[in-house]
């Protein structure tokens, strides 16, 4: 039943898309489309949620796609969970876009693809055979590419779109190969058929690698992340939110579906590989983010970081389940899935915030912003909550999932293999590092954008954004808080999908005293966001009350003291670059080959002193530059063949003939 409703939703999305093409440039199109998508998405979200908690599974087979196979769609706990994530994000994004979309210059290039994109997102999660899956997967990439190209007049966006579509189809091809191995020579493309027979060790390893590359390139695992910081900022903000918050999660779904579900029993070293990738990704992502001063690009890099954290959880789950430690594996997987949900929530929130800033000031560059907390307090508040959540600060939701991950890491000594024993603590350190750096980065992001004084005219004249956007943002902020205060319920909701994948799940949380969460046992570790929050609230108000009781209430406004320097210009404020400087000093030389080039004018010279920082993107230089270089080289060399004389072409033919005849003469 549920699958039928969801497929109707997909159909509805597609219909909306086609209508949007028809409406093209009309003003009415924007509210109509976004209203419709919001409605459809919420229906889908509710349906998915119901089938998640009721843990029912349903299959639907349509006579489409591969003739002898048909297009199979399936909803089980896992896909239901991801559908909740997808459709929640979609619904909120649509609501946000009701306001944000008004400022869209070329709506006709956004609306149809937006609806189609939503359809694609849903389809990937619903697909139950290799062909349908890949079709939806590529369809998703294609529509999002069109959305990235929506503002195609700027050369950067075109480049971003190009890199994106290349990486996307590269990923698709690797997944294609993986499915080729899974399906075998006579093409059992149905997931059921694939589950029924497991490939041998070598093939499984190969498939794991392929899936890591394929799904990883979509999710943004280092070093396949390069498209992400280019494409996400290029798209309109609500689309960026979907791409960052939701599409990457669909990639995570692909990974879980194939590696945990289709591929059969895991081997312990898979865990090592995934863990290492996750750890590196999280740290690299956040370091890249720290170096950015473009708000949306910073957020995109943080997506990379969080994907890393999710994959750490997945790697742990693999390692534990390979050793049959079901409870712990369930803990790790729950942590990962919960972080999937959390990240989709607060990343969407943050992108909405940046979108609001963008519409208010027309600026994405933090160096040109500042002091927005005065001009747009509500947005600032919501954004602040998002920052706190993504920085894994209690009592918000980001902390809970990372806390769970840590708990899983702390259980790693139970693992028999030395490789895991020794690598997991290091990964734990990486996780802690990336969490702390994330906090640092969001102090920077919020501090430079919203705090301080306005650096430009645009920032001074900013205005608070519209109701729709604010509604969306505050809804998500509330979710962040609620998921942080009552994580037990969310964990219980996730439990069915974890059980489906691993055959085990965490202890029921709702039953715990005081609604606290207990991964393994009360005596071992527990956390109660609700109480913490209450304590803080109580003691804060207590402090405030007593202070106002005993202390003087007098307060005077005066110019900032700033260590005695009078009225410095806003330009003396700390910028994003200068804020990141200490951390750049620590990690930069290692990761970015950072060089600082200072030139002081000699005494008597009037020119200003200059400090320039050169950062190199090592990943790009090491991996992508050589590839494109090789292609260019070959293309140039081969291009000679376009300009030969007929005689030379004839000699080619002649050579081919003689070669083949020789082959025959020799062949016995």
């Amino acid at each position: 039943m549920s699958v039928v409703i969801l497929m109707w939703c997909v159909l509805a999305f597609l219909v909306v898309a086609s209508i949007a093409i028809g409406l093209a440039k009309r003003r009415i199109a924007t509210p109509m489309v976004y209203g419709a998508t919001a409605l459809i998405a919420s229906v889908g979200c509710v349906t998915a949620f119901i089938s998640l908690v009721s843990n029912q599974s349903a299959t639907l087979r349509l006579p489409l796609g591969l003739p002898w196979l048909g297009a199979n769609f399936h909803v089980d706990a896992l896909s239901a969970f991801f559908l909740v994530v997808v459709d929640l994000g979609a619904a909120v994004a649509s609501v946000y876009a009701l306001g944000y979309g008004r400022h869209e210059q070329s709506a006709e290039r956004v609306l149809p693809f937006y609806a189609a994109f939503l359809a694609g997102l849903n389809l990937v999660v619903l697909a139950e055979d290799a062909f349908t899956f890949l079709l939806s997967w590529e369809f998703m990439s294609l529509t999002s590419w069109a959305l990235v190209m929506a503002h195609h007049r700027s050369a950067d966006n075109v480049r971003a779109g190009y890199v994106y579509i290349l990486m996307a189809s590269f990923g698709t091809f690797t997944l294609l190969l993986a499915y080729g191995l899974l399906a075998g020579p006579d093409g059992h493309y149905g997931f059921e058929a694939i589950r029924s027979h497991h490939p041998d060790a070598l093939h499984s390893a190969l498939i794991l690698g392929l899936v890591l590359v394929g799904a990883g390139s979509k999710a943004g695992l280092v070093p396949l992340h390069v498209w992400l910081p280019l494409a996400h900022p290029a798209a309109p903000s609500h689309v960026s939110a979907l791409m960052s918050g939701v599409m990457t999660k669909v990639a995570v779904y692909a990974f879980i579906r194939i590696v945990f579900d289709l591929l059969g029993p895991p081997v312990w070293w898979w865990g090592v590989v995934v863990l290492a990738l996750g750890g590196i990704t999280s740290v690299m992502g956040v370091l890249y983010a720290l170096m950015q001063h473009d708000l949306k690009r910073l957020l995109a890099y943080h997506t990379v970081e969080n994907i890393g954290i999710i994959f750490i959880g997945l790697g742990l789950a693999l390692a534990f389940s390979a050793n049959g430690l079901l409870a712990t594996a369930a803990l790790a997987l729950t942590a990962a899935l919960f972080h999937v949900f959390n990240h989709s929530v607060f990343k969407s929130l943050l992108f909405f915030g940046s979108g609001a800033v963008l519409t208010a000031t027309g600026e994405r560059d933090m160096e040109h912003l500042g002091g927005l907390i005065h001009r747009m307090p509500l947005t600032a508040f919501a954004f602040l909550i998002g920052c706190a959540a993504i920085s894994a600060l209690p009592p918000f939701n980001g902390f809970v999932s990372e806390w769970l991950t840590f708990q899983a890491i702390l259980l790693s000594p139970e693992l028999p293999q030395w490789g895991l024993k020794l690598s997991v603590p290091a990964v734990g350190a990486m996780l802690a590092l990336s969490a702390a750096l994330a906090a640092a980065c969001f102090v920077k992001a919020f501090g430079v954008t919203f705090s301080g004084r306005a650096r430009t005219r645009a920032a001074e004249t900013a205005h608070e954004s519209d109701q729709f956007s604010l509604t969306a943002m505050f809804f998500l902020a509330t979710v962040c808080l609620v998921a942080g205060l009552l994580p037990g319920f969310f964990i219980d909701a996730i439990a069915p999908s974890v059980h489906l994948v691993l055959g085990g799940h965490m202890p029921l949380q709702a039953a715990q005293p005081w609604l606290s969460i207990v991964p393994i046992a009360q005596g071992r570790s527990s956390y109660n966001g609700l109480l913490i929050f209450l304590f803080i609230a109580v003691s804060a108000s207590l402090g405030a009350y007593s202070v106002h009781l005993f202390a003087s209430k007098a307060k005077r406004r005066a110019p900032a003291w700033d260590g005695g320097y009078p009225e410095a210009s806003p330009l003396t404020q700390y910028t994003a670059g200068s804020f990141a400087q200490p951390i750049r000093r620590v990690f930069g030389t290692l990761v970015f080959r950072a060089r600082e080039h200072v030139e002081f004018p000699l005494p008597g010279e009037t020119r200003p002193a200059k400090l320039e920082v050169i950062l190199e993107d090592v990943v790009w230089d090491m991996l992508y530059a050589p590839i494109s270089g090789a292609i260019t080289f070959l293309a140039d060399r081969l291009n000679v063949l376009q300009f030969l004389t007929i005689r030379r072409y004839l000699s080619l033919v002649f050579a081919a003939l003689v070669l083949l005849l020789l082959a025959i003469a020799i062949w016995r």
Binding site: L135, V158, I165, L176, L177, Q642, L650, A655, L657, I664
Partner: protein, 481 residues
């Protein structure tokens, strides 16, 4: 008497008659219409072949394999004639063509159709050879019709290389005859297809091997496989766009059809060399070579010509791999490619006419100035690049997955080629369709019907293949073995 009225003869008679009429008919509007009508009637006749199953005669043969080809080529022949009607008018206004040219052009168009249909339904390898050469020579003269320096060079190059190909193909045919003659005795029956197939197992394998080498090279020249491809890009780029469309959409297929026929022959003789590996290797070479060649193209029609080489490579690769899945995929790929590529050439033709240039660098921001054409082109290129939900995705999916399970390395090489080609196509597409628009923004009077008819078919096929078609293809795949 009835013989004259059944589809088999009609698909030959109508074009021949039309050619004769068009050769003398003045006035391009009328002749363009007549051209359309004739092509349409041929299409009808071809479709009728589905329903009335003609028994194989001594000269003509209708089986499941060639019906697919005939219907496909007549469909594209018809849509192309529609397109050319709106295209030629513009050429006449700009004075690139004279009325005399046009009369010649239309006559030749029908001659070419006649040749192709004859080649497709011929039950006699000699007849098939004659027909294919006829079609080739017809296209040669049409390629040169603009009489510009480049056009003449292209036509000349095409002519010379084609002649060598013709010679090879003939030699191969003779060898097949000589292989058959000891078994079947002298005379026609040892060139009659159905008889050959029946007795091929008794033929001398060594002779068959040599024969296949020559046939493969001879007809492969027309398929445009690297390194025999040299004529193809220039012929596409310099000839009138309708001809580029039919070249990519039809002629390549017809030559491919010939190769397939002889492949069947080879596979039926167990002692002869299996033709598969040769086709696989040459196919791969063509794919990868064409993929790299795509990057340095400045002329938009040449670009898509190279993409045709690439796709022919894929198709030959698929048929070379063999097996029901790969053959099915190959057929599907061939059909989809013909439809898509001709649609692309239609779009490109209009674009080149509007912008007055074929230089890719001079065409920008098309989706802004000409949304319909621009998005049509985007859709077409996305389809040709193998993206869902369009048909080619399905065939490439089948080819790659089925190959990777059997021959991982080959599949990797193929995927490499596909990716490189994809990169080039998208790079150019983004340049053409997006960015700040340049060139004239004059609205085009073109009829978008052919373009979108093809694209709709491709889209539909990508999502839903009618069971009847599927059964058909599967049966043909079985035939190909």
């Amino acid at each position: 008497m009835k013989g004259l009225l059944d589809g088999t003869t009609l698909v030959l008679v109508i074009p021949a008659f039309a050619a004769a009429v068009l050769a003398v008919l003045p006035g391009y509007r009328l002749s363009a219409r007549l051209n359309m009508v004739a092509s349409f009637l041929t299409l009808l006749a071809a479709v009728s072949l589905f329903f009335v199953h003609a028994q194989p005669g001594t000269y003509f043969l209708i089986d499941d394999l060639n019906i697919v080809f005939i219907v496909l080529s007549t469909i594209i022949g018809f849509t192309t004639s529609v397109f050319s009607a709106s295209y030629i008018g513009h050429e006449l206004e700009t004075g690139r063509l004279t009325p005399t040219n046009l009369r010649f052009y239309h006559a030749m168009y029908q001659v070419m159709m006649f040749g192709m249909n004859l080649a497709l339904i011929a039950n006699n390898i000699g007849l098939m050879w004659v027909a294919i050469e006829l079609a080739t020579l017809a296209t040669v003269v049409m390629v040169g019709i603009y009489r510009t320096h480049e056009a003449l060079e292209a036509a000349w190059k095409y002519f010379i290389l084609a002649s060598v190909g013709i010679a090879f193909a003939l030699f191969g045919t003779i060898l097949v005859y000589m292989a058959a003659q000891p078994v079947l005795g002298e005379g026609l029956q040892s060139m009659t297809w159905t008889v050959l197939v029946a007795h091929v197992s008794k033929f001398d394998p060594a002779l068959l091997n040599v024969a296949f080498v020559f046939l493969f090279l001879g007809y492969g020249t027309k398929v445009g496989l690297a390194p025999l491809h040299a004529w193809l890009p220039d012929a596409h780029a310099e000839g009138p766009t309708p001809i580029s469309a039919v070249l990519s959409g039809l002629l390549l297929n017809v030559a491919l059809y010939a190769i397939l026929r002889f492949k069947m022959l080879m596979t039926l003789n167990s002692t002869a060399i299996a033709p598969g590996p040769l086709m696989v290797v040459v196919g791969l070479i063509s794919v990868i070579f064409a993929a790299f060649m795509l990057y340095r193209r400045r002329d938009i029609k040449r670009l898509f010509a190279y993409s045709s080489i690439e796709h022919m490579g894929i198709i030959v690769f698929a048929f070379g791999m063999g097996g029901p899945l790969a053959n099915f995929a190959g057929l599907l790929q061939m059909t989809m490619h013909s439809l898509t590529k001709s649609a692309i050439f239609f779009a490109v033709g209009h674009i080149a006419q509007i912008k007055g240039t074929q230089r890719i660098a001079d065409i920008r921001g098309l989706t802004v100035t000409h949304p319909v054409l621009g998005w049509g082109l985007v859709l077409g290129v996305i389809a040709i690049a193998g993206m869902p939900p369009l048909g080619i995705f399905m065939s490439e999916f089948l080819i790659v997955t089925s190959t990777f399970a059997r021959e991982p390395l080959l599949a990797l090489a193929l995927v490499l080629g596909l990716l490189v080609a994809f990169g080039a196509l998208m790079l150019r597409l983004q340049g053409i369709a997006f960015g700040e628009p340049t060139g004239s923004a004059a609205p085009s009077k073109a009829s978008y019907l052919p373009i979108f008819a093809h694209l709709t078919l491709v889209l539909a096929a990508g999502i839903y293949l009618p069971p009847m078609l599927v059964v058909w293809f599967q049966h043909v795949a079985q035939m190909l073995g």
